[in-house]
Symmetry: C2
Subunit: 422 residues, 2 copies
């Protein structure tokens, strides 16, 4: 069908309103659609009962909307990564079932009854908490994004991966329920009102990798959560069941899964995960460390290589995601000409701090080539940089913290391709 | 372990701080916990790889956190109901996989390519939309609760069902993405700025039941959504894939699944679903109709019959859910003595309008009997009524719209029972 021009001008059709109205009517009256005019199977008998599966799964027709692994990125599945199908999602919440995962020594199975969390080091009284103990402390709920520091990492050297799921899918966004880390540190007798200058916590997981990371005390006492639930339900095994650390706005590697120990220390450990990995190698070969915050970033999820325009010319919704580890997203701009001109997108709803924000540009496409870009601006005034701007500071040797503007080349056939603009 | 009294007084232990600190230390030093002192299997080898399942499921240990059907409520699974495991969830979001379902003629399988939505009746131009058409209109994202009008319906006659899942589990809360119904009505040429007094829309689904319902035009133009996604991903088959109507704050039966037709009419249809069903029978045998809004309501989810206290006396978190079809929840009170005295609970986060709000009371239990109740207050000032107050107006013949205060009897052994207080 062809769209009519609405009174409110929400859709701007290139065709006169009268003519379009006539053709829409014709579509209904003159070309009978058997899906409308004939009785269909689904309307003439009963469907499936409600108790088919104890825990419900997506319909079979959505079997392509899944996490995807790639063979070339890591050596095996034990240390591998899979990607959220962000090209096929809308809104902001990521269901656990399709949320990206990264494991350093596989995903372990740990019963609640076998779970222990130790707090030791520079505290008045080392403590060990069972899972049931943790549930007795006051808890909070917050929606936060979790982004792997390596998200978009392959793109440093040029346009590599043809799909938003692969370029930007190492991210998810869930509502976490848990106890503030500050509360547990205070329980162990840390004087959080006293002089804590130079103090750190070292956090590690119960898996063989332990994935130990150092976190400055200021962040530990700010908004970190010892979380049990995501989107209301228990964490999936692969997300750290029964307990993971949530470090809002900071790189996902610090969100330690199967959290087993928190040690209060005088300084950082400089562990493997914060020296040989998760540091940023610059053009001269030296590396920057302690680059924890995920800077403001955005990506257009539709149209995109995995989500082409299939409905022909006319009204089209350009949609994507924006986020910042520094707080709220205040504006997202969209360009159709590779960054020469920009339009302000509409935010789906006012975004939470350190959480995904959905943006839309309701516009029209007449079959011309577009160089689609989006750029996020956060509450600090920071503007997402171009790849050229980022390379000027960082060179091309980095893996982590690539938050550059992404470009999709939309072609006359509606397909989109990952390209680089100079 | 025993809890220490914190400096901030978050946990109020009955034992002196020094003594408790000592016993906590002792627990760690003198009774070696093999889970702490010995190398565990999960820390000495690699776990599972990340690509085990394309769409991830909850861990096996959570296999009891599922939707549950009951045999006695309806004749068969085709017309049956299952219940959200609210006793086991935290936060506010309900994952689709464990969200309650109600079908009138089973759940049908409808491909996006076979999907059509007709708007006809008193419009300038009847229109038929394909799924791809709908995706071209400006869309919005909102979190809303969907509650079956019959939720808590069995409790009119007294305390019947022993578990929050069964008394209050016909509810879920998701982030919906969709097109405002208003936009589609305007596309069909409805003059939404003109005189629409007395006008209604009749909405029906593509399943054999059609589940037709009349909605006054004021609501249709207000906040109704023609939704494709819930919590970011496609609606599950059982939730109306590919398109359902969202009628915020109003009874779930109006949220028509597999939405196929919207007719603009001069008056309501008075269909089966709004006459012989989904009306409220009063004490004198007459019935009230058009009681669409779900009034303010709340329930304590833990402790509750399916979620007893197992950790002994001392600090305990009382937690539950509150919601109102009239807007935001502004306050929730909790009583431990069957409604004689009340304390104000802490809201997990500022609730959205017409969405679930999580509340907590961080307190202490010393093994005494409690008659636990919660009462919700919404932004209109409405206070959730007692069962006695509701019966005074409505009698005991009703099924629908029971939003009375729920009572759990917490016993010395930590178990809770559904009881009625006079």
């Amino acid at each position: 069908m062809t769209f009519r021009t609405t009174r409110r001008g929400l859709l701007k059709s290139g065709i006169a309103a009268g003519a379009t109205a006539a053709s829409a009517g014709a579509a209904l009256a003159n070309t009978p659609d058997p899906l409308i005019t004939e009785l269909q199977d689904w309307a003439s008998g009963t469907g499936d009962g409600v108790d088919a599966t104890p825990y419900g799964l997506p319909i079979e027709y959505e079997s392509d909307v899944i996490r995807r692994n790639v063979e070339w990125l890591t050596a095996d599945t034990i240390s591998s990564i899979n990607f959220t199908p962000i090209h096929a999602l809308d809104g902001t919440i990521t269901p656990q079932g399709c949320a990206f995962e990264r494991h350093h020594s596989g995903a372990i199975e740990l019963r609640k009854d076998d779970y222990r969390l130790m707090i030791n080091g520079l505290v008045d009284q080392p403590l060990v908490f069972s899972y049931a103990d943790l549930e007795r402390f006051p808890r909070e709920n917050h929606v936060y994004f979790c982004e792997c520091a390596a998200n978009t990492g392959m793109e440093w050297a040029g346009a590599q991966l043809n799909g938003a799921q692969f370029t930007h899918g190492m991210i998810h966004n869930m509502e976490y329920s848990g106890v503030p880390l500050r509360t547990l540190l205070e329980e162990a007798g840390l004087d959080t009102a006293g002089d804590l200058a130079g103090k750190w916590v070292y956090v590690e997981g119960a898996d063989a990798s332990s994935n130990g990371r150092s976190i400055p005390m200021e962040k530990a006492l700010d908004d970190c959560l010892v979380a049990f639930k995501a989107n209301g339900e228990a964490l999936r095994k692969e997300h750290g069941y029964p307990v993971r650390l949530v470090v809002p706005g900071w790189e996902g590697n610090m969100w330690v899964k199967w959290l087993r120990r928190i040690e209060v220390m005088d300084g950082p450990v400089e562990s493997r995960e914060e020296t040989s990995k998760y540091t940023d190698t610059l053009a001269d070969g030296t590396s920057r460390k302690w680059t924890w915050v995920m800077d403001a970033k955005s990506v257009i999820t539709s149209p995109s290589p995995q989500s082409p325009i299939t409905h022909g010319t006319g009204p089209v919704v350009i949609s994507g995601l924006a986020w910042s580890g520094h707080g709220k997203i205040t504006r997202v701009d969209v360009s159709r000409d590779g960054g020469m001109t920009w339009e302000t997108a509409r935010l789906g709803k006012q975004g939470d701090s350190k959480a995904l924000t959905r943006f839309y540009l309701d516009t029209e496409w007449n079959g011309e080539d577009w160089l689609l870009q989006s750029r996020a601006i956060d509450e600090t005034g920071y503007v997402q940089p171009t790849k050229a701007q980022l390379r000027e500071v960082r060179g091309e040797n980095s893996i982590y913290h690539n938050n550059c503007i992404q470009t999709w080349h939309l072609k006359a056939n509606g397909e989109a391709e990952n390209v680089e603009v100079s």
